[in-house]
Symmetry: C2
Subunit: 244 residues, 2 copies
């Protein structure tokens, strides 16, 4: 009975913070929710980050509580009506979630229906692991295993290969192929503007610009907005039906 | 008395494997070296990777031994005349270096004069840590601390911000700034084509396209080819002379 909105990016070109996903956030939290717990550990200036988020959520009609202001952050999660995890550095975010004992607390609440919104790093940590983040490993979390709220990984800010580029660093597609040399989970490459809506075992792609699905041993393929993606919520779906 | 050549990239646009740094590799190893130990753990197909490297090094006049063919990889390092660590995934490389007991072996041999060549991931691991790699964290090494052969970090394949971009994922410069929110070592952003030559406590930038130096609390600045960079080999130089 999980309800999640996993957003590629916090800012869309030309728009303000979370403007491109406001309608989907309103649909996620709904009119019954009054307060949202904000987790901004991916950022460096926690107070400033929460202040900006507070103003933005108030414009959507929600009061915002910053997790770092709670004497007991895990208790704040257990008592929260809804949660939003903001973007920034994914390693810094996951390290803090472990250190503050929030991993199990968030898992438990999401499994019993607390709405979870995440953008960028906040979408990465909702997945099996952070092994498909784009971020630099500026700090070391105890594990790359993440909240495991969905049985796949996301690559946020997904960018297509640029055929005319003379730069020979790996493309994003090559990096995800390297991931599949070592790991099984499917990877949804969410372009900026795209997001995944998950509710009651059902999943669809929303927003703009679309997404690309990478599965181990298969050719990548485009995902269409609105296409039913429920099968990606089945753990190990690829592993059991693969041919090789 | 360390001798190192730390190269941004294995391939330069329009050229073959290591062609853009052949002269510098010949200068690093010199005419007295006959055999080079190749460490290709950053790659996925170790045999194919070593085969390609073997052909390339033979064209430079060196026999190549692949570390994975040794019954005791650490002994192979201790007995090697020279070493070259190839590019690929930095996390996979560092994990293998730890698992096979090569971290101390390489450190010991480089400190007593064994020439060390590295490209891309092979340059990342020569530094304080791999916390400025561009790679995805596809596997988890026991530590992000690396060989620490030089007291700074490298960001290989460095790319300048693209002012006309509508993509809002972090630029490389923003990622390095995030690194400095959490870490002290200076970062040399080596553009493709650039490399660092280190010998007897002296360091210069070589190759083409130049590099950018990022120091905590200071404005980034360009490094010029041939400019003496010996001060970057002094451990903690920035920490001791910083103003704030």
């Amino acid at each position: 009975m999980s309800r999640l909105l996993l957003i590629s990016n916090s800012y869309q070109h030309g728009l303000g913070y979370l403007d491109h996903c406001e309608q989907q956030l309103l649909a996620l939290y709904g009119p019954a929710i009054r307060r949202v717990l904000f987790v901004g550990y991916a950022g460096s200036d926690l107070a400033a980050y929460a202040e900006g988020a507070r103003e933005r959520f108030q414009r959507m009609g929600y009061q915002l509580d910053a997790v770092q202001d709670a004497a007991d952050p895990a208790a704040a999660v257990r008592e929260a009506e809804a949660i939003f995890i903001g973007g920034g550095n994914t390693f810094r975010l996951l390290k803090a979630l472990y250190e503050k004992g929030l991993v199990d607390a968030i898992r438990g609440r999401v499994s019993t229906g607390m709405p979870y919104g995440g953008a960028s790093a906040g979408s990465n940590v909702a997945c099996v692991s952070i092994r498909t983040t784009n971020d630099m490993p500026i700090v070391q979390p105890p594990s790359f295993d993440a909240l495991d709220l969905v049985p796949f990984n996301i690559n946020p800010h997904y960018v297509d290969p640029e055929p005319s580029s003379r730069h020979l660093g790996e493309t994003r597609e090559q990096r995800i192929r390297e991931f599949h040399e070592e790991n099984w989970p499917p990877v949804v490459g969410l372009r900026e503007g795209a997001m995944l809506r998950i509710e009651d075992g059902s999943m669809q792609l929303a927003g703009v610009n679309g997404a690309r699905l990478f599965e181990r041993g298969r050719e990548p393929r485009e995902l269409a907005t609105g296409e039913p993606l429920d099968y990606l919520l089945q753990p190990g779906h690829l592993r059991s039906d693969r041919r090789s």
